[in-house]
Protein backbone atom coordinates (compact mmCIF):
# COMPACT_ATOMS: atom_id res chain seq x y z
CA UNK A 1 0.00 0.00 0.00
CA UNK A 2 1.30 3.42 -0.93
CA UNK A 3 2.16 5.67 1.95
CA UNK A 4 1.07 8.97 0.49
CA UNK A 5 -1.72 9.52 -1.95
CA UNK A 6 -1.11 11.72 -4.90
CA UNK A 7 -3.72 10.73 -7.43
CA UNK A 8 -7.34 11.55 -6.51
CA UNK A 9 -8.67 8.99 -8.97
CA UNK A 10 -6.62 6.21 -7.40
CA UNK A 11 -7.69 7.41 -3.97
CA UNK A 12 -11.36 7.13 -4.86
CA UNK A 13 -10.81 3.69 -6.37
CA UNK A 14 -9.03 2.52 -3.24
CA UNK A 15 -11.82 3.91 -1.06
CA UNK A 16 -14.52 2.17 -3.07
CA UNK A 17 -12.62 -1.10 -3.10
CA UNK A 18 -12.07 -1.10 0.66
CA UNK A 19 -15.66 -0.14 1.39
CA UNK A 20 -16.90 -3.02 -0.71
CA UNK A 21 -14.38 -5.54 0.58
CA UNK A 22 -14.97 -4.60 4.23
CA UNK A 23 -18.75 -4.79 4.09
CA UNK A 24 -19.43 -7.62 1.67
CA UNK A 25 -18.59 -11.27 1.36
CA UNK A 26 -17.13 -11.36 -2.13
CA UNK A 27 -15.66 -14.85 -2.10
CA UNK A 28 -18.98 -16.46 -2.98
CA UNK A 29 -18.26 -18.55 -6.05
CA UNK A 30 -20.64 -19.03 -8.96
CA UNK A 31 -19.47 -22.64 -9.09
CA UNK A 32 -21.11 -23.28 -5.71
CA UNK A 33 -24.42 -22.14 -7.21
CA UNK A 34 -24.01 -24.49 -10.17
CA UNK A 35 -23.07 -27.33 -7.83
CA UNK A 36 -26.04 -26.67 -5.52
CA UNK A 37 -28.36 -26.65 -8.53
CA UNK A 38 -27.02 -29.97 -9.78
CA UNK A 39 -27.43 -31.48 -6.28
CA UNK A 40 -31.03 -30.25 -6.19
CA UNK A 41 -31.76 -31.76 -9.62
CA UNK A 42 -30.28 -35.11 -8.61
CA UNK A 43 -32.20 -35.02 -5.34
CA UNK A 44 -35.44 -34.21 -7.14
CA UNK A 45 -34.78 -36.94 -9.70
CA UNK A 46 -34.28 -39.46 -6.89
CA UNK A 47 -37.52 -38.26 -5.29
CA UNK A 48 -39.42 -38.48 -8.56
CA UNK A 49 -38.10 -41.67 -10.17
CA UNK A 50 -37.14 -43.77 -7.17
CA UNK A 51 -39.37 -42.73 -4.31
CA UNK A 52 -42.51 -41.59 -6.11
CA UNK A 53 -42.28 -44.19 -8.90
CA UNK A 54 -41.90 -41.82 -11.89
CA UNK A 55 -45.06 -39.99 -11.03
CA UNK A 56 -47.16 -43.13 -10.80
CA UNK A 57 -47.61 -42.15 -7.21
CA UNK A 58 -48.55 -38.51 -7.61
CA UNK A 59 -46.79 -36.12 -5.27
CA UNK A 60 -49.96 -34.55 -3.92
CA UNK A 61 -52.52 -37.28 -4.44
CA UNK A 62 -50.20 -39.60 -2.64
CA UNK A 63 -49.98 -37.36 0.34
CA UNK A 64 -53.68 -36.65 0.38
CA UNK A 65 -54.26 -40.38 0.54
CA UNK A 66 -51.70 -40.86 3.29
CA UNK A 67 -53.96 -39.02 5.67
CA UNK A 68 -53.50 -39.75 9.29
CA UNK A 69 -50.00 -41.22 9.49
CA UNK A 70 -47.63 -38.29 9.29
CA UNK A 71 -44.30 -40.05 9.27
CA UNK A 72 -44.62 -42.96 6.91
CA UNK A 73 -41.75 -44.48 5.04
CA UNK A 74 -42.01 -42.30 1.94
CA UNK A 75 -41.88 -39.04 3.91
CA UNK A 76 -38.86 -40.29 5.82
CA UNK A 77 -37.01 -41.21 2.63
CA UNK A 78 -37.94 -37.85 1.05
CA UNK A 79 -36.75 -36.09 4.19
CA UNK A 80 -33.41 -37.92 4.12
CA UNK A 81 -33.09 -37.17 0.40
CA UNK A 82 -33.67 -33.45 1.09
CA UNK A 83 -31.18 -33.37 3.97
CA UNK A 84 -28.46 -35.04 1.84
CA UNK A 85 -29.05 -32.45 -0.90
CA UNK A 86 -28.83 -29.62 1.64
CA UNK A 87 -25.59 -30.90 3.18
CA UNK A 88 -23.98 -31.52 -0.22
CA UNK A 89 -24.96 -28.04 -1.42
CA UNK A 90 -23.49 -26.39 1.68
CA UNK A 91 -20.27 -28.38 1.48
CA UNK A 92 -20.00 -27.36 -2.18
CA UNK A 93 -20.55 -23.68 -1.30
CA UNK A 94 -17.86 -23.92 1.36
CA UNK A 95 -15.39 -25.74 -0.93
CA UNK A 96 -15.74 -23.45 -3.97
CA UNK A 97 -15.80 -20.26 -1.89
CA UNK A 98 -12.68 -21.18 0.06
CA UNK A 99 -10.99 -21.91 -3.26
CA UNK A 100 -12.02 -18.52 -4.62
CA UNK A 101 -10.88 -16.77 -1.43
CA UNK A 102 -7.51 -18.51 -1.62
CA UNK A 103 -7.10 -17.58 -5.26
CA UNK A 104 -7.71 -13.90 -4.59
CA UNK A 105 -5.56 -14.00 -1.46
CA UNK A 106 -8.38 -13.23 0.97
CA UNK A 107 -9.58 -14.83 4.14
CA UNK A 108 -12.81 -16.81 4.04
CA UNK A 109 -13.83 -16.28 7.66
CA UNK A 110 -14.14 -12.52 8.18
CA UNK A 111 -16.61 -10.24 9.92
CA UNK A 112 -18.47 -9.87 6.59
CA UNK A 113 -18.79 -13.66 6.38
CA UNK A 114 -20.26 -13.84 9.87
CA UNK A 115 -22.67 -11.02 9.09
CA UNK A 116 -23.74 -12.70 5.85
CA UNK A 117 -24.39 -16.04 7.56
CA UNK A 118 -26.27 -14.37 10.42
CA UNK A 119 -28.64 -12.64 8.03
CA UNK A 120 -28.99 -15.78 5.91
CA UNK A 121 -29.72 -18.21 8.71
CA UNK A 122 -32.39 -16.32 10.68
CA UNK A 123 -35.09 -16.60 7.97
CA UNK A 124 -33.66 -19.90 6.72
CA UNK A 125 -33.85 -21.68 10.07
CA UNK A 126 -37.32 -20.24 10.77
CA UNK A 127 -38.37 -21.55 7.37
CA UNK A 128 -36.85 -24.95 8.08
CA UNK A 129 -38.79 -25.22 11.33
CA UNK A 130 -41.99 -24.07 9.61
CA UNK A 131 -41.54 -26.71 6.91
CA UNK A 132 -41.15 -29.37 9.61
CA UNK A 133 -44.37 -28.12 11.21
CA UNK A 134 -46.12 -28.39 7.83
CA UNK A 135 -44.80 -31.96 7.48
CA UNK A 136 -45.98 -32.95 10.96
CA UNK A 137 -49.40 -31.47 10.31
CA UNK A 138 -49.71 -33.21 6.95
CA UNK A 139 -49.78 -30.03 4.90
CA UNK A 140 -47.28 -31.63 2.56
CA UNK A 141 -48.66 -29.87 -0.50
CA UNK A 142 -47.48 -26.49 0.81
CA UNK A 143 -43.92 -27.60 1.54
CA UNK A 144 -42.40 -26.73 -1.85
CA UNK A 145 -43.99 -23.29 -1.73
CA UNK A 146 -42.85 -22.63 1.86
CA UNK A 147 -39.29 -23.79 1.14
CA UNK A 148 -39.00 -21.52 -1.90
CA UNK A 149 -40.49 -18.48 -0.16
CA UNK A 150 -38.39 -18.78 3.01
CA UNK A 151 -35.24 -19.49 1.00
CA UNK A 152 -35.98 -16.45 -1.17
CA UNK A 153 -36.46 -14.26 1.91
CA UNK A 154 -33.17 -15.51 3.36
CA UNK A 155 -31.33 -14.61 0.16
CA UNK A 156 -32.94 -11.16 -0.05
CA UNK A 157 -31.95 -10.57 3.58
CA UNK A 158 -28.38 -11.76 3.01
CA UNK A 159 -28.06 -10.17 -0.44
CA UNK A 160 -27.02 -6.81 1.00
CA UNK A 161 -23.84 -8.39 2.32
CA UNK A 162 -22.61 -10.21 -0.76
CA UNK A 163 -22.68 -10.07 -4.55
CA UNK A 164 -25.74 -8.23 -5.90
CA UNK A 165 -27.02 -11.22 -7.88
CA UNK A 166 -28.04 -12.98 -4.66
CA UNK A 167 -30.70 -10.34 -4.05
CA UNK A 168 -32.28 -11.05 -7.44
CA UNK A 169 -31.99 -14.81 -7.00
CA UNK A 170 -33.92 -14.31 -3.75
CA UNK A 171 -36.69 -12.36 -5.48
CA UNK A 172 -36.91 -15.06 -8.16
CA UNK A 173 -37.28 -17.77 -5.51
CA UNK A 174 -40.05 -15.82 -3.75
CA UNK A 175 -42.02 -15.45 -7.01
CA UNK A 176 -41.58 -19.17 -7.74
CA UNK A 177 -42.68 -19.97 -4.18
CA UNK A 178 -45.87 -17.94 -4.57
CA UNK A 179 -46.57 -19.63 -7.93
CA UNK A 180 -45.94 -23.03 -6.32
CA UNK A 181 -48.57 -22.12 -3.74
CA UNK A 182 -51.10 -21.13 -6.41
CA UNK A 183 -50.44 -24.06 -8.79
CA UNK A 184 -50.21 -26.47 -5.94
CA UNK A 185 -50.22 -29.64 -8.04
CA UNK A 186 -46.92 -28.61 -9.62
CA UNK A 187 -45.07 -28.00 -6.35
CA UNK A 188 -42.21 -30.35 -7.20
CA UNK A 189 -41.82 -28.75 -10.64
CA UNK A 190 -41.46 -25.26 -9.14
CA UNK A 191 -39.08 -26.67 -6.55
CA UNK A 192 -36.92 -28.09 -9.36
CA UNK A 193 -36.95 -24.75 -11.21
CA UNK A 194 -36.16 -22.75 -8.05
CA UNK A 195 -33.54 -24.90 -6.37
CA UNK A 196 -32.15 -26.60 -9.46
CA UNK A 197 -32.41 -24.50 -12.60
CA UNK A 198 -32.19 -21.03 -10.99
CA UNK A 199 -29.09 -21.94 -8.95
CA UNK A 200 -27.40 -23.13 -12.11
CA UNK A 201 -28.46 -20.07 -14.14
CA UNK A 202 -27.36 -17.55 -11.49
CA UNK A 203 -24.22 -19.58 -10.76
CA UNK A 204 -23.19 -19.39 -14.42
CA UNK A 205 -23.92 -15.63 -14.55
CA UNK A 206 -21.84 -15.02 -11.40
CA UNK A 207 -19.03 -17.23 -12.62
CA UNK A 208 -18.76 -15.38 -15.92
CA UNK A 209 -19.01 -11.96 -14.27
CA UNK A 210 -16.52 -12.36 -11.46
CA UNK A 211 -14.32 -15.37 -11.96
CA UNK A 212 -13.04 -15.31 -15.48
Amino acid sequence: MEINSTNPKEDLQAIREIMERSSKFLSLSGLSGIFAGVCALIGAAVAWFVVLGSGNVHYDEYYCSVGATPFNQVSIILGIDAIIVLIAAFLGAYYFSSKKAKKSGQKLWTSSTRRLLGHLFIPLVSGGIFVLILAFRNNIDLIASAMLIFYGLSLVNAGKFTLGEIHYLGLTEIVLGVLAGIFILYGLLFWVIGFGVMHIVYGIVMYYRYER
Binding site: M1, S5, P8, A14, I18, M19, S22, K107, S111
Partner: protein
Protein backbone atom coordinates in the same frame (compact mmCIF):
# COMPACT_ATOMS: atom_id res chain seq x y z
CA UNK B 1 -14.62 29.67 -7.55
CA UNK B 2 -13.57 28.07 -4.32
CA UNK B 3 -10.46 25.98 -4.57
CA UNK B 4 -11.43 22.33 -3.92
CA UNK B 5 -7.98 21.62 -2.56
CA UNK B 6 -8.85 23.59 0.56
CA UNK B 7 -11.38 20.87 1.40
CA UNK B 8 -8.82 18.08 1.19
CA UNK B 9 -8.15 16.97 4.73
CA UNK B 10 -4.51 16.76 5.64
CA UNK B 11 -5.24 13.94 8.05
CA UNK B 12 -6.41 11.70 5.19
CA UNK B 13 -3.37 12.29 3.01
CA UNK B 14 -2.02 8.88 3.88
CA UNK B 15 -3.52 6.01 1.93
CA UNK B 16 -3.60 3.92 5.09
CA UNK B 17 -5.72 6.44 7.01
CA UNK B 18 -7.96 6.72 3.98
CA UNK B 19 -8.33 2.95 4.06
CA UNK B 20 -9.13 2.84 7.77
CA UNK B 21 -11.76 5.54 7.35
CA UNK B 22 -13.31 3.90 4.26
CA UNK B 23 -13.81 0.70 6.24
CA UNK B 24 -15.26 2.54 9.24
CA UNK B 25 -17.72 4.47 7.06
CA UNK B 26 -19.50 1.26 6.04
CA UNK B 27 -19.03 -0.72 9.27
CA UNK B 28 -20.32 0.60 12.60
CA UNK B 29 -17.36 -0.86 14.43
CA UNK B 30 -14.34 -2.93 13.44
CA UNK B 31 -11.78 -4.57 15.67
CA UNK B 32 -8.04 -4.29 15.31
CA UNK B 33 -7.58 -7.66 13.65
CA UNK B 34 -10.34 -7.06 11.12
CA UNK B 35 -8.67 -3.80 10.08
CA UNK B 36 -5.30 -5.50 9.99
CA UNK B 37 -6.54 -8.26 7.67
CA UNK B 38 -8.44 -5.84 5.50
CA UNK B 39 -5.59 -3.40 4.94
CA UNK B 40 -2.78 -5.97 5.11
CA UNK B 41 -0.65 -3.98 7.53
CA UNK B 42 1.69 -4.79 10.36
CA UNK B 43 0.51 -4.26 13.94
CA UNK B 44 2.83 -1.32 14.57
CA UNK B 45 2.03 0.47 11.35
CA UNK B 46 -1.73 0.15 11.80
CA UNK B 47 -1.54 1.11 15.48
CA UNK B 48 0.37 4.33 14.78
CA UNK B 49 -2.17 5.46 12.17
CA UNK B 50 -5.08 4.56 14.46
CA UNK B 51 -3.45 6.58 17.22
CA UNK B 52 -3.13 9.60 14.94
CA UNK B 53 -6.80 9.36 13.91
CA UNK B 54 -7.81 8.95 17.54
CA UNK B 55 -5.87 12.04 18.60
CA UNK B 56 -7.69 14.11 15.99
CA UNK B 57 -11.01 12.73 17.29
CA UNK B 58 -11.80 11.18 13.93
CA UNK B 59 -12.24 7.76 15.47
CA UNK B 60 -12.99 6.55 19.01
CA UNK B 61 -11.50 3.47 20.58
CA UNK B 62 -13.21 1.12 23.01
CA UNK B 63 -11.60 -1.75 24.80
CA UNK B 64 -13.51 -4.73 26.09
CA UNK B 65 -12.70 -8.23 27.12
CA UNK B 66 -14.14 -11.20 25.32
CA UNK B 67 -13.53 -13.88 27.90
CA UNK B 68 -9.96 -13.17 28.84
CA UNK B 69 -8.89 -11.80 25.49
CA UNK B 70 -8.77 -8.05 25.12
CA UNK B 71 -10.63 -6.79 22.10
CA UNK B 72 -10.15 -3.26 20.83
CA UNK B 73 -12.79 -1.87 18.52
CA UNK B 74 -12.81 1.32 16.51
CA UNK B 75 -15.66 3.54 15.42
CA UNK B 76 -15.76 6.71 13.30
CA UNK B 77 -17.00 9.83 15.12
CA UNK B 78 -19.52 12.20 13.55
CA UNK B 79 -16.72 14.71 13.11
CA UNK B 80 -14.61 12.06 11.38
CA UNK B 81 -17.47 11.12 9.05
CA UNK B 82 -18.07 14.76 8.12
CA UNK B 83 -14.39 15.37 7.42
CA UNK B 84 -14.21 12.21 5.35
CA UNK B 85 -17.24 13.26 3.28
CA UNK B 86 -15.66 16.66 2.66
CA UNK B 87 -12.47 14.95 1.62
CA UNK B 88 -14.37 12.67 -0.78
CA UNK B 89 -16.25 15.60 -2.29
CA UNK B 90 -12.97 17.45 -2.79
CA UNK B 91 -11.41 14.42 -4.49
CA UNK B 92 -14.39 14.10 -6.81
CA UNK B 93 -14.25 17.77 -7.66
CA UNK B 94 -10.55 17.49 -8.47
CA UNK B 95 -11.27 14.68 -10.91
CA UNK B 96 -14.08 16.68 -12.48
CA UNK B 97 -11.77 19.64 -13.01
CA UNK B 98 -9.03 17.65 -14.68
Amino acid sequence: MKNPISNLQKVFESRIRLGIMSALMVNDTLDFNALKDLLELTDGNLASHLKALEQQEIIVVSKQFIGRKPCTTYRATNLGKDLFRQHLAALEELIGNQ
